[in-house]
Symmetry: C2
Subunit: 439 residues, 2 copies
Amino acid sequence: MSKKVNVGLIGYGTVGKGTAEILVHNKQDIFEKTGIDITLKTVADLKIDKTRLDETLSLCETVTNNADDIINDPEIDIVLELVGGYGFAKEIILKALKAKKNVVTANKALLALHGAEIFKAAQDNGVTIGFEGAVGGGIPLIGVLKEDLVGNNIKEIFGIINGTANYILSSMEAEGKEFSEALKAAQEKGYAEADPTFDIEGIDAAHKIAILASIGFKTLIPFDKVYIEGISNIKKVDIEFAKRLNCKIKLLAIAKKLDDCIEVRVHPTMLPNAEMMAQVSGVFNAVEFVGDNVDKTMYYGRGAGGKPTGSAVTADVVSIARDIVGGCTERVPVLGFAKEYDYYCPIRNIKDVKSKFYLRFSVLDEPGTLAKIAGILGKYNISISQAIQPDNRAPGEVVTMVFMTHKTIANNIMNAIEEIDASDCVSDKTVAIRVKELV
Amino acid sequence: MSKKVNVGLIGYGTVGKGTAEILVHNKQDIFEKTGIDITLKTVADLKIDKTRLDETLSLCETVTNNADDIINDPEIDIVLELVGGYGFAKEIILKALKAKKNVVTANKALLALHGAEIFKAAQDNGVTIGFEGAVGGGIPLIGVLKEDLVGNNIKEIFGIINGTANYILSSMEAEGKEFSEALKAAQEKGYAEADPTFDIEGIDAAHKIAILASIGFKTLIPFDKVYIEGISNIKKVDIEFAKRLNCKIKLLAIAKKLDDCIEVRVHPTMLPNAEMMAQVSGVFNAVEFVGDNVDKTMYYGRGAGGKPTGSAVTADVVSIARDIVGGCTERVPVLGFAKEYDYYCPIRNIKDVKSKFYLRFSVLDEPGTLAKIAGILGKYNISISQAIQPDNRAPGEVVTMVFMTHKTIANNIMNAIEEIDASDCVSDKTVAIRVKELV
């Protein structure tokens, strides 16, 4: 068996460049570790100017503007799709798989939405697809779930898997900024995109938790069943209350395996400072896997960026190269479970998910207001564990009042808020944030 | 190729029992993930009473008091050595390897001291040896270093890898105990052994960091080159000073790759609270790997215990089973680097290792004492960044005085302390603790 494996890379953006740099500059180190000559043979990108190559590209055998030059090259064993998006990316992945090439991608959006089709195509063609770079940037998560924690029934997966949202929340906390200011600063520093919707509205985190939960719970998660709530409604005052409660507000992605169903959700969460997860700040990511045997384990690192994500893509490339050289096919199933066992586990409706809640009301400080609100909460069986009111206020002013509830299903909270917000007690929409209990 | 793999387990203590329970009770789950029927066929332990088997053992085909029943069984593919110690454990590992059986062990002491011989025996016999359970209990560390971070030159490895020492330091901090009280409480709770030497003197952590550094830096680390300093000299007063300095004292294992050499050491360390690592308390472990591409990543979880360590042992068993079924031999080299590239990188003498230091002097509060100490420190080129003295004292009393130094080589500190402790300035031995800078 030849000990040479050729790689073709499509998409020379941030992650493509980071990956290319690693494959070229760490080539000798990787050879010393694996005994395999893994060569980045061809890079394809529409935007590459072949007359002006950077140092990395000048060390590749072929640079092209045509992805087909990679897919049709019989010498290329592994195709890296680092284009992103749903259209062209999906097309080249399916073409590459059909051409019996192994594929590595970091495209979480595509896998979350079209994973079933893509994984089936890989299986039908007797090749594999790696996607460690799709979740948590450089943090090993997919490999850990599929291999290192294989001796566990995974009970819970939760974490901070969107660096942009975490950066914004961290700077709101550290610098006392309102959301819009913090977002603007993040955009100026390049930590948020011009259109930040996917990051701040929780969609990116939802893509990622859908992938992790699919592996962890041995079932494909239909993306439209993931409950998604972003951070754009979080105000400075919520961060301040969180501080008083010894908590931090984080955008958490959470997946839980229950006896008869699964919960998969993304929403802002109050996290007690005693949780390691609460200490994860800025653009860093962290994920906790809780297994029946290993108990809780946590993984922390850079969740984005060319080199960290390139590190994850390289891990997939090397793993596939080892399988090719060793003559081992489908050593580990694509989603970490043998294909005859895939099934769709029911996913619990968010209305039925129980949590403790932080409720912030903008109330008119008039006699009877508190009684009215408390009455409506009581009507929906919501019991209060703590009430916090600012000290200084004049009668008739709008004041902020915070209630912490005991555990209750979200449906009760939603109904109570609807009724309260329609009443004359409040001057602004009520904000509800779930509170994480210590694992 | 048959999809059945048989396992024999030798040593039914805490880890042996934890592993057996996982292999038996998670068997169906592991089959759903791998498509392989991994069967715990035989358990051997001198102490097993065959007339009174527990639930797990009653589900095994064979229970025996003779390890040879496993090693000589042609149907057994993987032998688990969970006996511990250097003598019998080494004997059965070498016998099993010679019988062309793959081996899994969690025996860090044996591997740190006799790894070279054992790894060579595995190689000579065309089989492998897994040892994920040897470091960090259930936390995936070996697999992460060998596979997930393969696209990185590892620059630094550091962490808390002895749960007993961390439990003692955490309880000294939380409960204001002196070392001896905290040790006694840990022993009563089963977190420290009757003879706690290996744990509190840093020897166990040294075994583990030697293994991690060997993999991370692609060189075998001779165990006697690891600098080891335990926590038995840490006093309550040091913990109190650490608090004032916004630090925690942790027993850290540290390995660094420099241009021309390696540092490998275990010692108590002042860790700024801003480091995630400083938040690791109680029996939990955490390790940080810093790579040239991925930057810093951290791994956290339970560093000991039957089930967590059993989870790691199971990961090795499954990985080997996948290789056996896939017909793939030596897919990943035992130490994560191809054998023709093993070499011994020079290890820096601790005297030449630069750190910031915390120095605590028990001085007689007499005129001129401070000048004398400062003079000796100056003579050895040690410059002071901060001096802390308690406020209330009467002349002639013994007082505690703390200096924080700038970075200096340990040799200067050792020489200065020797001279100061031999002088008439101090009434007790000076304590020096290295201070970790933020990565």
